[in-house]
Symmetry: D2
Subunit: 373 residues, 4 copies
């Protein structure tokens, strides 16, 4: 038997539906039937070849939810909770962090471990179904398995997707204090998550700058107190509004989730003296920004913190809080469209054009070709 998967064969090429051989399960591995997998901005970057070192052809889909089909000696999820065939689970896309190198052992920064690999990004399709845009996903031994915390649904988890974890990580990285005023730049999945978690962590004020209007509406729904349009309000006016809202000082914490160098300049301008600026949206090389290190960093006594990827602690904590606050967050609302494997190209286009905030791939929705694939 084989597995149908949507494959990015090379940068700039449209995704193709391939048949991938079924994996033979090693001890400690798990096979999932894919329920849904996300399409995120990173997948758009992957389709254009904007990340270095990607082993095309690949099966995208780094955050996914699946139903356990088969396990080889795995009876528990990471926390010790029992899992069995039929259970709906998710897993941590980051894998093969070695636990034995200088970064893992001395620096304690596993997100910079050179062995680190990521489902849906750094595995070749030739290595097996190691991405979520496939009917089944092979979880190699050691992949961190996680039962969905009650009462979360697959849609809520995928609606959050990897942006949920990145936004969470960015908020924790800021070290914000209770009562801080927080600016989030960007209203995509990372920005929405950062806004939601900043509010949940006790910001007295969460401002989101972004576009289009429906994303700003979502931002307000998940916790933003004020939204300012990137496209309809001129920068000078945005600056005046932020000053007004912060006693003339600027925000205590800014979180860049825009992925655009132009945001950097505005971020420094809106940050108060002594504030903290987390750079979370520059996941790919989108060009350089010009910074005056006297006015923006030194005299401002600023903290500027890059947030690269996530760590499992963010995943577990984010899902735990999502379960607690699901009524408020309702992240399933973020899902703008459901696409079969054969519609992956359209899903990418819709994400890129901002037509949808979050697209999801639902393999079972795939139209079967008349001749067997």
């Amino acid at each position: 038997m084989s597995i149908r998967a949507a494959v990015l064969t090379a940068p700039g090429k449209a995704p193709e539906v391939w048949d991938i051989p079924d994996p033979s399960l090693e001890p400690g591995s798990v096979l999932l039937e894919t329920v849904a997998s996300e399409v995120c901005g990173t997948d758009v970057h992957l389709s254009h070849g904007r990340l270095a070192g990607v082993p095309y052809p690949i099966i995208p889909g780094h955050v996914s939810v699946g139903r356990i089909l088969e396990t080889r000696g795995v009876a528990k999820d990471f926390s010790g909770a029992p899992v069995a065939s039929g259970d709906v689970v998710t897993f941590y896309d980051v894998h093969e962090v070695c636990g034995a190198c200088w970064y893992c052992l001395v620096a304690k920064q596993p997100n910079r471990c050179p062995s680190r690999r990521v489902y849906g990004i750094t595995y070749s399709a030739k290595e097996g179904p190691l991405g979520g845009w496939a009917e089944r996903i092979y979880l190699k031994p050691g992949v961190k398995l996680l039962r969905l915390p009650e009462p979360l649904t697959a849609d809520e988890v995928i609606g959050g997707g990897c942006g949920l974890f990145t936004g969470f990580a960015a908020v924790e990285r800021s070290g914000m204090a209770l009562g801080d005023a927080v600016l989030v730049q960007g209203a995509g999945p990372v920005g929405l998550s950062a806004a939601a978690f900043a509010a949940l962590r006790g910001a007295s004020l969460v401002i989101v700058i972004g576009a289009p209007a429906n994303r700003l509406e979502l931002a307000r729904a998940v916790g933003a107190d004020v939204t300012l349009s990137l496209t309809e309000m001129p920068p000078r006016e945005r600056a005046a509004r932020v000053r007004d809202l912060t006693g003339g000082r600027g925000v205590d914490v800014a979180i860049e989730a825009a992925g655009n160098p132009a945001a950097i300049e505005e971020g420094f301008r809106l940050l108060r003296d002594g504030g903290t600026y987390v750079i979370a949206g520059h996941y790919t090389d989108v060009g350089t920004a010009t910074v005056n290190f006297h006015t923006d960093v030194n005299r401002k006594h600023a903290d500027v913190r890059g947030q690269w990827g996530t760590d499992f602690t963010h995943v577990w904590r984010a899902l735990t809080l999502l379960a607690k606050h699901r009524d408020r967050l309702r992240l399933d609302r973020v899902i703008g469209g459901r696409y079969g494997l054969d519609e992956a190209g359209r899903a990418l286009a819709d994400v890129e054009s901002l037509a949808v905030t979050k697209a999801i791939i639902v393999p079972s929705k795939t139209t079967r070709p008349t001749a067997a694939g």
Copy 2:
């Protein structure tokens, strides 16, 4: 009676020796006879008008040592140690931090208090002898007075000067861990101090990049393990050396004490993933730097921290450690020349040309004009 002082009358003008009226002492004030006052890079900037909001004419000299001439109800230094006429003391040049504003009370960042004023920089010569390039210095009520910790001499304190405190603050701001590899960019007073304190705080490796050769020699004397010439070794070779010395990773902590945007680019390149970069040398506007926030900050998971000015805690701690390690540090060696008030212009020129690392003004050395001044 009047007080002779070297005065910067306006940007771009040579210093002049003026007679300033003797102040009348308010309750809580102290009058010092100046022993020595430093000439630092900031004074060169002041002479060129590169700082905003300076109320020319001013008497420069923010870090000074003096002998108590007279006190009005002041019998103790800040720590409660008794002080009396004839004692040799120093004082904290930063004054009038209000303790009552949002920055002082809520943000706990007195270095960004809007009321903050600095001896030798933000007081007009018309307000009195409030800078160290004068025969006497008036310490307004509330100025933090500090007996020189035993057995420090005036030369050791002034040899350190404000750079001693800024370098100290930069090292503490880095939050470096015991055993870290530290790069210091710059071998002027701030860089030398940062190198010394990084070594004293348990760096396993302190690398200094700077020039000229005699400053690098001083850097090694105060604690640098390796020095790399800014002028004689090409950047590519410096990068290779740093990689070799750090297991190929780059440094854990970099401290910018160069005051040059070109240093920024090199600093990011030599910083390891997950490292911390303290920006301490951009005290004035020396132009912009170009930064790729994807490669330099986000993917690198970097911490970039501006260090603006100092706080009294740095002054006290730095002097305490200087007293303990004086045999090793011997900061009097940094003093390259002693100048009378009438030689202030030459002192500025010698600092600017790097002819001396540290120049000091010794008012008693001033040549008396034949006609009384």
Copy 3:
């Protein structure tokens, strides 16, 4: 004219209503007409003489709300917002932190400044109306004035009272991470506040242990997810419940707000390995606890953090968040009784017996004696 005030004349004595001379206003001072002042557990301790160094006779009442009657050159509150006669304000009870000693300058711990004095506790009634249980309160020059953040009422601020700030400080002191499980020991004003702010700061689980039942109901109303009765559930069962709720590990953070050494033993037992335990409720000497530093601290790798008093940053931040979340918190519900100055003894008794969670003194409610007081 004179001011009527409820005075604790000596330990163990019932409060008396005294006439205090009206103060003459110094430059920088403000006179308030008292709207309401709280009666907190500390006042009970003061009535019994359990705090050292209290200069009886005193006018209690450290957190108060008042209406501005008169000002001497004060036109703004601490944040720069304009204030004028008739405005309803509060103020920070901690005063005379010197800003000039080792603790203020070097250690940066103004809550341990030896000059620190507190309205309602460390001022004698002979020094003037420097406590809130009086018709008018004299705000000495430099007291931090604060307009009530819109749309808070006096009842909401006093309902929170000093416990609001202490609970806030305890939560910040814990350094809790987003998604942590938090235990609060005690359901008095400090415990309720800690539970509320732990929830607002993104705890995934807030457990409160306390009594009686109506306080636990309040705890759930302000954010506790689970409450366990101190009186009706045996310790062994409480421990089992906490283990069940935390994957068998115990809580990430425990906050002691019980003021009872017996709580300490239970707190260590319920804390997970590597957890943080904040001691906030031992404001007076209630005796010793027995601790096994091997099992409870060393092997547990525990963090135990004392929280002494508060700092203005806590006050401002707590009130800002209270204003944002007033609908959820409704701290006016905590007020169990309103007492005139002549009823202060009964107010103390009701607080001590736990008959009310929070009593408030409303001077205008005082019954005028037939013969002028």
Copy 4:
């Protein structure tokens, strides 16, 4: 062939020399010829049965140095440096931290991982030569191997031993600031290491309380500024000395390395308000201490931090710094006696009686019995 080893067969029994079968090497494993292994206070505790869960019979010796005899596919140490037969190496005694549980993944506290095992303590002699008191040591796959940093000798590393790492961890755990005054309680291996690293991390003052006199002399040699005798100076006098040395305030940081509840009471008394107290010496259950949480923790605003075991980052960093400062530290001086395997009982007795600070087991020194062992 077999391996001779000194074995603790049961609590309270004298060590016996056993013959252990030679292990068969798994892929990824290494076999060492033991150069030397330490005898530390923990081994004394083990001989008395004071640790819970120890699987007697055991081969003690958790920190050891050996020469590589044979490897199975291991060509590099943890840092990537090549290793080959004949090389002298050490290894991290803590093993089997899982990297997959809640403590490893979420709490980021591998020192509390339930799977954690320790060479010389938690492995049975029946599992193989998994302790250093043996002619050969079997390094299971995944054990962290470390070449001795140049130019360290085996004696210097073993002279430091596990106390070197624990003392290092305690100093880092304190978060001390540059210029802090530090008290170390205890002058055994942990205390000496803490004193050394506190000095290397920039303490302005390191005070050691301990006994006997020769240990205090060692303490001064490695960096203590002042030593106070536990046996010859009464507590009241020690307290007076500490106050004198710290401006009357007490120390900023205290580190308990005494393993005695009596030390706790003195530690709290000598700690300044707002200070940090690290509990590192209570590795076994030595009974309870009585603490007044009002005066010692709450009002003092103290931080009390347990330090359980170590992490590899401490080992690597400590050895790196030991290599840099070897001339000053000369930890080989700590070694008071070298014992063969057949002399292990005497070694334990000499450590327990404080006759030697550090005993080492040198298997090659073992007297061969006339009949082959």
